[in-house]
């Protein structure tokens, strides 16, 4: 790890001001990706702006069918939150599947989304649950947030403050894990909002998370496992690595979607 300056702002405004001054600086959320990259000397920010003590970035607010999760909320808090378990149980279950116990107690929803790791779990949820990502400057719809490999709609210095979700009628997330890293080789989040409005978010398979519209249509017509079981996903453009070819990933999208629907119907 290279040397860096450490900052601990107490408000998101102060954090953003610091970010504006330090062009090679980075926000530090849970540090579960950034700190690893720094230790491997793959990332060498001059400044780390720790968001950990900013009070207005943490916390969960539920009202009716809506849930707002502060950007610095840890995965373990989402997994165990009574409000989220009640309103969007599939989201709590998904948060409980991220990484391992240590990661879940450090990693945050805002950090995960800003990083946009192609195999992270939250992006699938954000797409399927039609979330709105609030920043210190604006509100961004989930559909316009992910732009590519580790690329998002965030501008330099822009800070995620919270993420809002609308509860579906039912939903579920199914993950097929990379055997080594335990990240999603393919993860599929299915959310049924009723009246034929079904959203399917896929992670792990492409450069960034994406929606699978063919499956959304099929499930909109009939929310049942067999509605998607025979859909053959095209492998074109899907990730190719040691653990899974595009063909295998395409196949897993169908299987995981089918299993997510089965789970959602339980």
């Amino acid at each position: 790890m290279h040397a860096f300056q450490y900052h601990r702002p107490t408000s998101s405004k102060e954090a953003a001001t610091l970010a504006g001054q330090k062009s090679e600086g980075r926000y530090l959320a849970g540090g579960q990706s950034l700190v690893q990259a720094m230790k491997l000397r793959l990332s060498s920010p001059t400044d780390l702006i720790d968001l950990g003590t900013i009070k207005d970035l943490a916390g969960i607010k539920a009202s009716g069918a809506a849930v707002e999760i502060g950007a610095m909320t840890r995965h373990a808090e989402v997994a165990s939150s009574p409000e989220i378990k009640k309103t969007i149980p599939s989201l709590a279950a998904m948060a409980g599947m991220i990484g391992d116990r240590q990661v879940r107690h450090m990693g945050t929803i805002g950090g995960s989304l800003a990083n946009s790791d192609p195999a992270a779990d939250y992006p699938a949820a954000v797409l399927a649950l039609n979330a709105t990502i609030s920043t210190n400057k604006r509100k961004i719809a989930a559909d316009s947030f992910f732009k590519g490999l580790y690329e998002t709609a965030l501008e330099p210095g822009e800070l995620i403050t919270a993420v809002s979700f609308q509860a579906p009628k039912r939903g579920a997330y199914m993950k097929f894990k990379n055997p080594a890293s335990r990240f999603a080789l393919v993860g599929v989040y299915v959310a049924d909002y009723g009246s034929g409005n079904v959203r399917v978010g896929v992670t792990g398979a492409g450069a960034s998370a994406f929606r699978q519209t063919e499956m959304e249509k099929a499930l909109g017509a009939k929310f049942a496992p067999d509605a998607v079981a025979n859909i053959k996903v095209k492998p074109d453009g899907l990730n190719n690595d040691l653990h899974a070819s595009p063909e295998y990933r395409a196949h897993l999208i169908t299987v995981m979607c089918k299993r997510a629907v089965e789970q959602a119907l339980k």
Binding site: M1, P179, A180, A244, Y248, V255
Partner: protein, 779 residues
């Protein structure tokens, strides 16, 4: 003492310090004036070093020195030696290219050491290492064993990248048997390359004292005396008496810490230049790139059978990937420790094996838990299971038809098995595994959408490689004995010094049990010391499951001498003839009387020799012994594995695993079970999850734990294990060794189960979900 300590489940003496974080590992050793080394490593698999510019690094904060290959060459630092000379089929010695500690003119694998920076702190060394500018002229690379011969030459002395072509067995007899066989089973496969990943990375902390011109080298090693011998005699030209090597607590080795590594040599040499201690500890990334890897064979194997399933002959052709350089014992693994095991548990009358060992632009390959024997077992047991399926003979029945039943048994591949009972372990394994109930379980699995399969593996292992003179005639450049010393203190407690080295095996408990039992002491009265050349008279270290069979026997021989001297002392104290003294568990008795002396009384008399035969006997009670075995030991066992395959995803789980091993006599069954659990898990890892991958340019794809999959606890079932016992006939404890068995037998059992589940002849290891899915879609 009524209950015997031999065979008792004594809790491990060493666990308190390990479980409370009070162990002392090499990296924990901090010396006055400590400095830290960082290595610049090649990012290219194959390249000419056009220039290495160190000026900026030398001026960086905290930097004390920077050295490159030419600095070492100028100081006449030798290359790393290979400990085993293989003679090829034409009677020529293997090709032994130079293995410089820092690259000379060329790099031959990613991670090879190009320069070292020594600084006041580890971070400063690392920062400065980034300032070294290396101008590489990249060359084409070759990474796979199969391609090696056609690839660009790594070393001038081996233009076809061939280190040797070696063969064992009667080729004419084998070819003749194949010509009249009723059935031939043929398989072609790769035994996947593995990366060891001991939990403690390699580490060295070397210091030099100007006061007495001596060196002390702390190093994470499995054999400190061998490390010292190789470093002093072959590389640095130092007098052995001036070098102390200490391997303190070592966090796992699996073979990867047997060898003399370049980092050890560089730090020791640099410590002398700077007259300050130099420490280096690998990070996990460096471990992946530069620890010796294991396995990596490409094999074509054939088994000839008569119409009833009797084995007639076996023919095996293997290309073994040795990596870019010859690691310390690399040459003997795919030959002496591989081809000799191809008889397995069977009476196959004729076996021929030809091995081509090749250089590639990859990390060196050497012994890794099992070392040659897992590869041999994989060949034999995949062939046997496949033959059974092809001939529609029950797989267990086919094995029984061919089991060796008469001992000693001379195999056609040089080994002579002293004892065994293969029927007994197979019977027990089948019973415990409930083989009879498999059909029902298969149907139940199918109802849950899972394909279930069952596979056997009946392995043989050769442990405690020996005797030294035979090994020497086969090319070994070292002895293969072990040394031990028993120091009885005046009050009757004992310190045991052993040349074996524990890095997770629990010797401090197992060896103490042997000594305490023999001397009638409690386990607390016996201390076992290992891992320090200044304390231990000599040692060949721990590898190849040799510690109890060879190191334990050396201790027993020293104990015999203690008892013999004790009898002389007791005879004097009891005023009896020495011939009338009987010894049993700590008590010297005059036969047929109630006159006796306790062991402690005899020990005290030896050190306070007031009433003592000083004219005939030296005072003191301290004995040592060297033991060179007359033969290998031959552990064997039968494994039964059941897997379930998810039909949609290919995800494969080992749902049941039964292992019945014959390790001869057990000293501590609890420790043995732990060794079996660990071995099985590594074996299942090779079959299901672990596979080192380089891309075609020689970049390591599996360079971290996010891509290289070591099995987790959740990847293995609750093991069902048991033992059967045929004591080894040629050592006094009747022991055989247990450290590697699981890793030797498990891969074949798992793959036999998966191929059974899928109904395919073969699929590559590791059988990851993707590989299994592909196999299902091909089938």
């Amino acid at each position: 003492m009524t209950s015997s300590l031999i065979g008792a489940r004594v809790p491990r003496k060493e666990d308190y310090r390990f479980l409370t974080g009070s162990g002392l590992y090499t990296d924990d050793v901090a010396l006055p004036g400590q400095t830290y080394a960082a290595f610049v490593r090649s990012p290219h698999a194959h390249a000419v070093l056009r220039s290495v510019k160190t000026d900026k690094a030398k001026k960086a904060p905290g930097v004390i020195a920077v050295y490159t290959g030419p600095d070492l060459a100028a100081a006449k630092v030798g290359g790393l030696p290979c400990g085993w000379l293989i003679t090829d089929v034409k009677g020529q010695p293997m090709k032994e290219p130079p293995f410089p500690a820092l690259a000379q003119g060329k790099v031959r694998h990613v991670g090879e050491r190009v320069a070292v920076v020594i600084a006041e702190s580890a971070a400063q060394a690392r920062d400065a290492a980034e300032l070294i500018e290396v101008d590489y002229q990249a060359l084409p690379a070759v990474v796979s064993a199969a391609q090696a011969k056609k690839g660009p030459a790594l070393h001038d002395i081996a233009p076809d990248n061939t280190c040797y072509v070696w063969a064992l067995g009667d080729k004419a007899a084998v070819d003749g048997a194949f010509a009249k066989a009723a059935h031939v089973t043929k398989l072609e496969f790769v035994n996947n390359r593995l990366i060891p990943n001991a939990i403690e990375p390699r580490s060295v902390n070397a210091s030099y004292s100007r006061a007495d011109d001596s060196y002390t080298v702390y190093v994470a090693s499995q054999n400190p005396h061998v490390e010292r011998l190789l470093m002093t005699a072959f590389v640095l030209g130092l007098p052995e008496n001036k070098v102390r090597v200490v391997a303190p607590d070592v966090g796992g080795g699996f073979g990867s810490k047997i060898y003399l590594y370049a980092e050890d040599v560089v730090c020791t040499w640099a410590a002398r230049q700077l007259a300050r201690p130099v420490k280096w500890t690998a990070d996990r990334s460096e471990a992946f790139l530069s620890d010796a890897h294991g396995r990596d064979h490409v094999t074509v194997a054939e088994l000839a059978l008569d119409k009833d399933g009797k084995f007639l002959a076996m023919r095996v052709r293997t290309t073994a990937n040795l990596g870019a350089y010859l690691s310390t014992f690399a040459s003997c693994i795919p030959t002496i420790l591989y081809a000799t095991l191809l008889a397995g548990q069977y009476t196959t009358p004729a076996i021929y094996c030809e091995v081509t060992a090749v250089f590639t632009n990859t990390a060196p390959v050497d012994a890794y838990r099992g070392a040659g024997r897992p590869e041999a077992t994989y060949v034999v047991e995949r062939l046997v299971e496949t033959a059974a399926r092809e001939m529609k003979i029950d797989a267990a029945q086919l094995r029984r038809k061919n089991f060796i039943r008469q001992f000693p048994y001379q195999t056609p591949v040089a080994l002579c098995y002293d004892t065994g009972n293969y029927e007994a372990t197979l019977d027990a394994a089948m019973k415990i595994a409930d083989v009879a109930g498999f059909k029902d379980r298969r149907e139940q699995s199918l109802r849950r959408g899972k394909l279930r399969g069952m596979g056997y593996a009946c392995y043989i292992e050769a442990c405690g490689i020996a005797p030294s003179n035979v090994a020497g005639s086969l090319g070994a450049r070292a002895g293969l004995f072990e040394a031990g010393e028993i120091r009885v203190h005046p009050t009757g407690t004992v310190t045991v010094f052993t040349g074996s080295h524990a890095h997770g095996q629990g010797h401090e408990t197992t060896f103490a049990q042997v000594v305490a039992e023999r001397l009638g002491l409690s386990i607390e009265q016996v201390e076992v010391v290992h891992g320090d050349t200044s304390k231990i008279l000599f040692g060949m270290g721990t590898y190849g499951s040799r510690s109890i069979a060879v190191g334990g026997t050396a201790i027993v021989k020293a104990l015999d001498k203690i008892v013999a001297k004790g009898k002389k002392i007791a005879a004097h104290l009891l005023e009896a003839a020495e011939a009338d003294i009987e010894y049993d568990k700590g008590v010297f008795k005059v036969a047929g009387t109630d006159k006796k002396k306790a062991f402690g009384e005899v020990a005290f008399a030896a050190y306070v020799p007031h009433n003592y035969p000083l004219d005939k006997l030296e005072p003191g009670l301290n004995e040592n012994a060297f033991y060179d075995p007359t033969n290998f030991t031959f552990p064997a066992g039968s494994y039964v594995c059941e897997v379930e395959v998810d039909r949609e995803t290919g995800d494969t789980q080992v749902v049941a695993f039964t292992a019945v091993d014959d390790f001869g006599k057990l000293i501590n069954p609890m420790i043995v079970e732990g060794q079996v659990h660990g071995g099985l898990t590594q074996g299942i890892g090779q079959a299901l999850t672990e596979g080192c991958a380089y891309d075609e340019t020689g970049q390591l794809i599996t360079g971290s734990l996010t891509d290289y999959c070591i099995p987790r606890a959740s990847d293995v079932p609750m093991f069902k294990i048991d033992t059967r016992e045929t004591p080894c006939t040629h050592n006094p404890l009747g022991v055989k060794g247990c450290g590697e068995a699981g890793a030797i037998g498990a891969p074949a059992a798992v793959m036999n189960a998966i191929t059974d589940a899928l109904g395919v002849k073969d699929l590559p290891m590791p059988a990851t979900a993707q590989n299994v899915w592909r196999a299902m879609h091909r089938a």
